[in-house]
């Protein structure tokens, strides 16, 4: 029997949390209803009472709850982030996912027993950075940004005893996690500062006959014909005019999907596979969790006979942004 990486699934609401657990997630990750996490969207996330119910539900079934406090404490309000850490410890989450080194230091000193994970927003792409966080803050797991090739992920794993978590499925952005300010360029707010990329209050979908225009704080991001798939209204996925040509100058709307390289991911010793999408609905969580669970379970008997079932790919393609998927940086020939 091969030991499998944990399947870590998103929960933006209690029904989504239950959907993840019921469909085979080993762990769920979630956040408070405020700007201490990078999916601070209106109506999303958990009040402490609902979170307690979610934690109970997961623990009753032997699964873990990871809490993301993965934005950066803002000047004059550091106490808000520290209180979130204290509350998370009180609530009994299995791990807190942090990005801000100041908060990592606070959590380590105030709650030395609490398991800490380094968020993807912490932007650690080298084993040196990860080992530093282990030495200084006792970090037990690091979530890798989606910029590394599979060979580079393997290199990191070989040189650290910190558990490594990688993204397995979900919407791709410019893969510059924790260091991206494109949203701030357009509207003065970004995931690092307010917990949201391209906040909804700046987004306008303008439907005209035969075309839909997307604007972010008045800036035209894209123009879709009626039959074209759409994406999230972020600058990185806009079509812009560059030297007389209009095209996706940074990246196309797309989702990462690692189904085809799951055996390699297992082989190099990845400890957990993460699904993006706390902003998505329980239906998405159900579909993606169920599919990745089935794919992972089929690897228990060994990877020799692993093959990606067309039904899995179809299910994941359907929920993908822009209705298309990619292996992203994992299979990039260049570094």
């Amino acid at each position: 029997m091969t030991s499998l990486p944990d399947l870590v699934c998103p929960a933006g609401s209690l029904p989504a949390l239950k959907a993840a657990i019921d469909n085979g997630a080993d762990a769920v990750y979630l956040g408070y209803k405020n700007d201490t996490n990078a999916r601070n969207f209106a109506g999303l996330n958990f009040e402490p009472k609902t979170m307690a119910e979610g934690i109970r539900y997961a623990h009753d079934k032997g699964r873990e709850v990871l809490l993301a406090i993965n934005t950066f404490a803002q000047a004059g309000r550091v106490a808000d982030w520290q209180k979130a850490v204290d509350a998370a410890v009180d609530q009994g989450v299995d791990a807190i996912i942090l990005a801000d080194v100041g908060l990592l230091d606070y959590a380590r000193n105030r709650h030395p027993q609490q398991r800490l994970h380094l968020s993807v927003q912490g932007s650690a792409t080298s084993y040196e950075a990860i080992n530093f966080c282990q030495r200084e803050f006792g970090v037990r797991r690091a979530v890798l940004p989606r910029v590394l090739t599979l060979a580079q992920v393997e290199h990191v794993i070989k040189n650290t005893s910190v558990e490594i978590e990688v993204f397995g499925f979900g919407s791709l952005c410019v893969m510059n996690e924790g260091r991206c300010w494109l949203s701030s360029y357009a509207c003065g707010e970004s995931p690092n500062t307010v917990g949201a990329c391209s906040p909804a209050k700046y987004v306008k979908w303008d439907k005209k006959p035969g075309v839909m225009e997307t604007r972010l704080n008045g800036i035209l991001i894209d123009r879709f014909g009626d039959d074209e798939p759409a994406g999230y209204p972020t600058l990185c996925k806009g079509r812009f005019e560059v030297e007389g040509e209009t095209y996706y100058a940074l990246e196309e709307p797309t989702s990462l999907n690692v189904l085809s390289i799951l055996p390699e991911i297992l082989k190099i010793g990845v400890r957990a596979i993460k699904v993006e999408g706390r902003q998505r609905s329980p239906a998405y969580v159900t579909q993606v969790t169920r599919t990745l669970r089935a794919a992972l379970d089929s690897l228990r008997a060994g990877s020799e006979r692993f093959h990606v079932k067309p039904a899995w790919q179809a299910e994941l393609a359907k929920v993908s942004e822009g209705s298309q998927a990619t292996l992203g940086a994992y299979n990039r020939p260049w570094r």
């Binding site: 209106a42 109506g43 239906a283």
Partner: protein
């Protein structure tokens, strides 16, 4: 969703919409508002988010039936609006099958939006509030007997 019943993607014949548009629209609004108020009475909708809906004007348009419903939320109740005096704050447009798939939690609104099967126009943040509020509803156990509410 337990997978025993799947709502297919379908589109009603175009004559349905041309007929539907000629029929009175008030029954749709009454039915929708009735359902929403029933959810209110069961305390399924969180008060903090409901406050954000106060006095907002909503329109739900079913493209292939030609039906539409307009409503608002005021003083703790959803209320039908029979003649729009201004553009709605938030408008949804989709075919019937997309709405049924959403209600059954069979499909995710973002998925339908990406594939252009669901159109959302107006105040985007308000749209997010409504979407996330409905996603967070824990449908009571009896819904397991209603195919459209099964999740």
């Amino acid at each position: 969703m337990n997978g025993s019943f799947t709502i297919p993607k379908f589109r009603l014949p175009t004559f349905v919409a041309s007929l539907g548009r000629k029929l009175p629209q008030w029954p749709h609004a009454l039915a929708l508002v009735g359902g929403l108020n029933a959810a209110l009475k069961m305390n399924l909708l969180p008060e903090s988010e409901l406050a954000l809906l106060e006095d907002k004007l909503f329109r739900v348009r079913v493209l292939d039936t030609g039906g539409e419903a307009c409503y608002t939320y005021r003083n703790g109740l959803f209320r039908p609006v029979f003649s729009l005096q201004r553009e709605p704050d938030l408008a949804f447009a989709a075919n019937l099958s997309a709405y049924l798939q959403l209600l059954a939690r069979q499909e995710d609104p973002d998925t339908l939006f990406f594939s252009r099967e669901l159109e959302i126009t107006g105040d985007t943040e308000l749209g997010l509030v409504v979407k996330n509020m409905l996603d967070a509803v824990e449908w009571p156990k009896f819904s397991a007997r209603l195919p459209l509410l099964r999740h």
